[in-house]
């Protein structure tokens, strides 16, 4: 069971690498035409392609690229001739700072609000929380980001609305600029997780064992903490994982709005600059994170749930 999941994850990453490679191959021009710009013709172009090994067949280049990526070597960027792993490193750290900040605030908040909304179902608290969640979820990130900038930075002047710190500055320098981007991420993330927590708690409240406990005369709060929460929070793990995975892709827009030097903005820049190696590397990183996070969630769910833990024994 576990091995099967690991295998499937590996296959997915491999397929992603093929799709990325094929997709980027489709882009018109290559690193050389982008680098040489107007002088990209004749001998010069040939020499450049020779240097970068672009004149080999696509298959050889794929094997080469995937092989070194496996060893952590993501190649060199087309323009700056710099190691990509070096370039990406700081960006990845900055994006992780965003994601981590949003998780630290968002997950506990979502759990709390979700449980509260479920326990007071259809009361004013629930209606308020659920409606706000729908708003936060459906409004495009660039809209909520712009709104937050307008309110907190233009009108109230509490926090800066744009990030001016350079990519490789120490983390401390990102405060307080990082607060608004984290706020936007937290908003969306909280809304998603909260909805699942709410429906899952409501479902558990209606289950036989919860009813049974009530009939036995177990105090309400004891039922909530002993019977409801442990069972209701299990499905949440998967949603948290999905949301984190979304977060790593969805930060693209948010990073652009705030001019935040993370992976997402780097991806947009690299696509417009036709910096193919960088594009490929970032896509591969994001996809791998997605697969790994989902895998981790599956494993956690399996470990936390005795029924799933033993499923392979019964299935043989």
């Amino acid at each position: 069971m576990l091995l099967r999941r690991l295998g499937l994850g590996a296959i997915t990453v491999w397929l992603v690498s093929v799709i990325i490679f094929a997709g980027v191959e489709m882009l018109p021009g290559d690193a050389c035409t982008a680098f040489l710009e107007r002088e990209a013709k004749g001998k010069l172009l040939e020499n450049c392609r020779e240097d970068l090994g672009l004149n080999r067949s696509a298959l050889t280049r794929y094997v080469d690229w995937a092989g070194s990526a496996l060893q952590g070597d993501l190649g060199v960027s087309a323009n700056g001739q710099k190691q990509i792993s070096e370039l990406v490193g700081y960006r990845l750290r900055n994006t992780l700072l965003l994601a981590f900040g949003a998780m630290v605030v968002g997950i506990p908040l979502a759990l709390f609000l979700g449980v509260v909304a479920a326990l007071w179902r259809d009361r004013p608290v629930d209606i308020f929380v659920s409606t706000s969640a729908i708003f936060a979820m459906t409004i495009p990130e660039f809209v909520s980001a712009t709104l937050l900038i307008l309110v907190f930075s233009v009108w109230l002047g509490w926090v800066p609305g744009i990030v001016l710190t350079s990519a490789n500055a120490p983390l401390v320098e990102f405060f307080p600029e990082v607060l608004l981007p984290i706020g936007v991420l937290t908003l969306v993330m909280t809304a998603h997780i909260l909805r699942t927590v709410r429906s899952s708690v409501i479902e558990t409240l209606a289950s036989d064992y919860a009813q049974m406990a009530t009939l036995k005369g177990v105090p309400y709060w004891q039922i909530v903490f002993r019977h409801i929460l442990p069972n209701a929070l299990l499905p949440t793990i998967n949603v948290v994982a999905l949301t984190i995975a979304w977060l790593l892709g969805g930060v693209v827009v948010i990073e652009t709005v705030f001019n935040y030097p993370g992976l997402g903005r780097m991806m947009i820049d690299s696509i417009s600059d036709r910096d193919l190696p960088v594009t490929q590397a970032i896509a591969l990183i994001i996809a791998s994170v997605y697969v790994i996070v989902n895998l981790a969630a599956d494993i956690m769910t399996m470990l936390a749930n005795p029924r799933l833990r033993t499923v392979h024994l019964r299935q043989g």
């Binding site: 992603v16 799709i19 997709g23 882009l27 660039f142 709104l147 900038i149 909805r195 999905l242 827009v253």
Partner: protein
């Protein structure tokens, strides 16, 4: 055969009426449907009611505050914000309105087919679908847009293609539920061809799930479309578009907040309207839609 016709389910038009009234019976559904309908009407008749042409510039009113002449003020080029906001959804609604049915149709057919066939090919397809889904949408879209340009003729097939992929999953899962039932086995035993089974047994049963999925896809597509416009990869100026307008007016927020607020309210109300309608539709059709993160 006259007696048996009374046993047949109500025709599509009668059912449509019931579903609509069912949606309108829920407060959230009524609000949602009204919002969507209002936006559609605005998109259709907007050009006849706007006070100014969307390209008309008036230097005297650059970044002006709301006034009698310009109810919502004017943007940095002196163009009327109200007119541009009212027209700002037409392109988005047109593009996503065409791309959504396309996505649902192709994703749905592929999904139903593989749900019926299953086996090795199905396994492989699902892995490819997973791989596609694990890439952020914006990366997929941008690669195609950078390759082929960013006109409407590129955006429609691009959106239709990528938003059809998650539909494959839904259609396949819905088909799996149906395939196991007796009537499909019976049709197989009668020796019907695959095409007949899909058309006669599967499509009617999977259609509701696809309808709800389509409504959800529509809102996500709008989100993608306006985000692309915002990032400068969507519609090109001077076409009025909410995403683009927000991007343009962002720099002048402190002088004229209306420039961002007006398109923000419009875009959000449309997307929320679609979501509320989709939720009510799911309930009206009796489909419990799992709360998923966007893919």
């Amino acid at each position: 055969m006259a007696e048996t016709t009374s046993l047949v389910r109500p025709g599509p038009s009668a059912r449509f009426g019931t579903v609509i009234s069912d949606i309108m019976a829920r407060p959230s559904g009524a609000i949602g449907l009204t919002l969507v309908f209002g936006h559609l009407m605005l998109a259709l008749f907007g050009p006849f009611i706007v006070p100014y042409d969307y390209t008309e510039m008036d230097a005297n009113f650059m970044l002006s505050k709301p006034s009698a002449a310009h109810w919502l003020g004017a943007d940095h080029l002196g163009r009327d914000t109200l007119s541009r906001t009212l027209l700002g959804g037409r392109e988005a609604i047109l593009v996503t309105g065409i791309a959504t049915p396309l996505a649902v149709i192709w994703g749905g057919l592929v999904g139903i087919f593989f749900g019926l066939v299953s086996g090795r090919l199905d396994e492989i397809l699902m892995r490819v679908v997973d791989a596609f889904l694990s890439l952020p949408w914006i990366l997929k879209m941008l690669v195609l847009i950078v390759t082929f340009g960013s006109g409407t003729e590129v955006l429609i097939p691009t959106l239709a293609f990528f938003y059809g992929i998650p539909v494959i999953r839904i259609a396949r899962a819905a088909t799996h539920d149906v395939v196991a039932r007796d009537f499909v086995q019976a049709a197989r035993a009668r020796g019907h061809s695959r095409a007949t089974i899909i058309q006669r047994e599967l499509l009617p049963n999977v259609r509701d799930a696809l309808l709800v999925e389509g409504a959800m896809r529509w809102s996500w597509m709008l989100l993608a479309f306006s985000s692309l416009s915002f990032l400068g990869f969507g519609v090109s100026p001077p076409t009025p578009d909410w995403g683009l307008m927000i991007a343009d007016a962002r720099g002048f927020m402190s002088f004229s907040p209306m420039g961002v607020l007006a398109p923000m309210v419009c875009l959000s109300s449309l997307i929320i309207g679609i979501n509320l309608t989709a939720d009510a539709l799911a309930k009206a059709l009796g489909i419990d839609r799992a709360q998923k993160a966007p893919v």
